[in-house]
């Protein structure tokens, strides 16, 4: 069984945060991050799909504007907050990717002032 597990991309791509462990499936979902199309697989969370695609961080810390990445992956830490389809502060680790979704990073509080 272990031998069966072939990582989609065998070589460790430098800089990629996450990789898929499952062989590629047929169902590809395409959504938008900032102005770039991102391809994900059906059933992935928005947060996971972005980090697999090479996005390095999802949000800026409120005060220091330093980059942050999800810590808990279950809806507790709020480090995955993104704007999804115009709605701010969406917990992107709890939301499944859908075709045509528009996803954006939010500005840190310091930039809003």
């Amino acid at each position: 069984m272990v031998q069966l597990l072939k990582v989609l991309n065998n070589s460790i791509q430098k800089g990629l945060m996450l990789k898929r462990l499952q062989k590629s499936q047929d169902k590809v979902v395409t959504f938008w991050f900032e102005k770039n199309p991102v391809q994900a697989q059906e059933g992935e969370s928005v947060a996971a799909a972005l980090l697999i695609a090479g996005v390095k961080y999802l949000r800026y810390a409120q005060v220091s504007a330093k980059p942050r990445m999800p810590y808990c992956w279950m809806g507790v830490c709020y480090e995955c907050l993104l704007e999804i389809d115009g709605e701010q502060n969406q917990q992107s680790c709890l939301i499944t990717v859908k075709d045509g979704m528009h996803v954006r990073r939010q500005l840190p509080a310091i930039e809003k002032i």
Binding site: M1, V2, L4, L5, V7, N10, I12, Q13, K14, L16, M17, L18, K19, R20, L21, Q22, K23, Q25, K27, Q41, E42, G43, E44, S45, A48, A49, L51, I52, K56, Y57, A61, Q62, V63, S64, K66, P67, R68, M69, P70, Y71, C72, W73, M74, G75, V76, C77, Y78, E79, L81, E87, N89, C93, L94, I95, T96
Partner: protein, 469 residues
């Protein structure tokens, strides 16, 4: 959905919530189950139906522990119980009305009995640098594998203690995740303190066997396991680059891409705290838990708790406790007699007693390291949202903020989006240590609504609906 009343509203669709719903439905109670995740299963069986359908290889990898959830899930799906996914509860009140948000719309329902089954969360591990991209929980990484089939792609170090850390390590060891090392932060004295509880733990020997198997597996895979590791510190410019630590008195460092931290899991007590239920402090495992009777009843009438949001005891105990709490609700609502309740409870009590045998051993062995619970370095961030450091919390104590809520007012620690979920325990430990007290004496954050972020527009929508009805 306003003012619709259910016999039983269950919050959480993990093992405890699903089992409770099944038991209540069996006795013809009207049941509503609310859960904030996209699908049933809780964290232990997170995304189980999607994983089986879309990611069969990962379903196979996750093994029997995960796959066994299928039985409960199928029964739950076939039970006809009303279930809302993606529903986050932001207010529960003592009259047992429950307000929640689903698809951006606020709803409110009423319950004759309320069952809180919100499970546990991974304990935040506040080491210097834990906010760098690349640092996350070890159980979180396991949840990520279940929910999205993804794993860290670079060099991984796993650090901390507790059964779930070992489980995550063993899962990753079976895949092509490159694990540089497992660093164990358990104090040696924990072994001595746990030893007297070993004979009792042998009654539930399957847990010990599993632990042993995992350690053998890691050895076979050639993954270095270092024990007695202290002073973890993560560094990097924009993301994680290097981990520093001391091992047997020697300073060491590793270059890495992902750091997985773990110091056990703690109950999600936000709802029971908001309801004003009585809580106590768990001295060994350093967390707050609601005081419960043998049926899971809290100190607030009509409100019960099942599963790991009571005391952390694992999935099988949670499932059994869900049955017990639902039987009690059924009895309290006059659908069965006391005798029927007691008779039906018998097998579930037996099950709980079996698994209980291993807990004292595990709780002593994996007692979190006090030096990790209380960040030693003043610059360590305690509150990730408002970026409040350990030093700032200590300063607030010096200025006379002697309890958790006073410190919150002084420093904004706990006022961010996570509403204290990530900083509460750490801040409590710091405040307590600074005064030579137990965290029991510094309290917990007052849980004001909303427990989950909700916009004014969504709130106003609810108001309109209440008036219209």
């Amino acid at each position: 959905m306003i003012d619709q009343t259910f016999d039983l509203v269950i919050i959480g669709a993990g093992p405890a919530g699903m089992a409770g719903a099944l038991e209540a439905a069996k006795h013809k109670l009207s049941v509503l189950v609310l859960d904030e995740q996209p699908e049933e299963g809780g964290q232990i069986f997170r995304s189980i139906s999607t994983t089986e359908r879309l990611r069969p290889e990962i379903f196979a990898l996750l093994g029997n522990n995960y796959q066994s959830g299928r039985k409960l899930l199928f029964s739950f799906q076939r039970s006809g119980v009303k279930y809302f996914s993606g529903a986050s509860v932001w207010l529960v009140e003592a009259d047992k009305s429950v307000s929640f948000l689903q698809n951006g719309i606020a709803h409110q329902v009423k319950a004759n009995r309320l069952l809180i089954a919100t499970g546990a969360q991974e304990r935040p591990v506040p080491i210097p640098g834990w906010t760098l991209p690349g640092v996350m929980g070890a159980a979180a990484a396991d949840v990520l594998l279940k929910s999205s089939g993804a794993v860290p792609s670079g060099r991984v170090v796993i650090a901390g203690s507790g059964p779930l850390m070992w489980l995550a390590a063993s899962r990753f060891a079976e895949t092509e995740v490159s694990i540089l090392a497992v660093l164990e932060t358990v104090n040696f004295s924990n072994y001595l303190q746990a030893l007297p509880y070993l004979p009792q733990a042998l009654l539930a020997s399957e847990y010990l066997k599993k632990g042993f198997r995992i350690k053998m597996q890691l050895r076979k895979a050639g993954i270095p396991v270092l024990s007695g590791v202290h002073n973890l510190r993560a560094e990097g410019a924009k993301g994680l680059e290097k981990l520093y630590f001391t091992h047997r008195g020697n300073s060491k460092s590793l270059e890495l891409d992902t750091l997985l931290l773990h110091e056990g899991v703690v109950p999600n007590t936000k709802l029971t705290q908001q309801l004003g239920c009585d809580h106590d402090w768990h001295e060994l495992q350093s967390y707050w838990y609601p005081l419960l009777d043998q049926w899971g009843n809290t100190s607030v009438k009509g409100v019960a708790v099942a599963g790991d949001c009571g005391i952390v005891a694992g999935a099988l105990t949670s499932e059994a406790s869900g049955h017990l709490a639902a039987l009690e609700s059924t009895f309290q609502l006059g659908k069965i007699s006391q005798k029927q309740r007691d008779a039906a409870a018998h097998p579930f009590r037996k099950e709980i007693n079996h698994h209980k045998a291993v807990r004292p051993f595990l709780e002593h062995l994996y007692r979190p390291n006090p030096k990790i619970l209380v960040p030693q370095d003043d610059s360590t961030l305690v509150c990730r949202c408002e970026e409040v450091t350990a030093g700032f919390v200590r300063q607030a104590v010096k200025f006379g903020a002697l309890d958790l809520n006073r410190v919150k007012a002084y420093t904004r620690c706990g006022m961010g989006q996570c509403q204290g979920r990530m900083c509460e325990l750490t801040a409590a430990e710091i405040i307590a240590e600074a005064q030579g007290k137990s965290p029991r004496e510094v309290g917990y954050f007052r849980c004001r609504p909303p427990l989950k972020p909700i916009t004014l527009g969504q709130l106003a929508g609810l108001e309109k609906k209440i008036k219209a009805s």
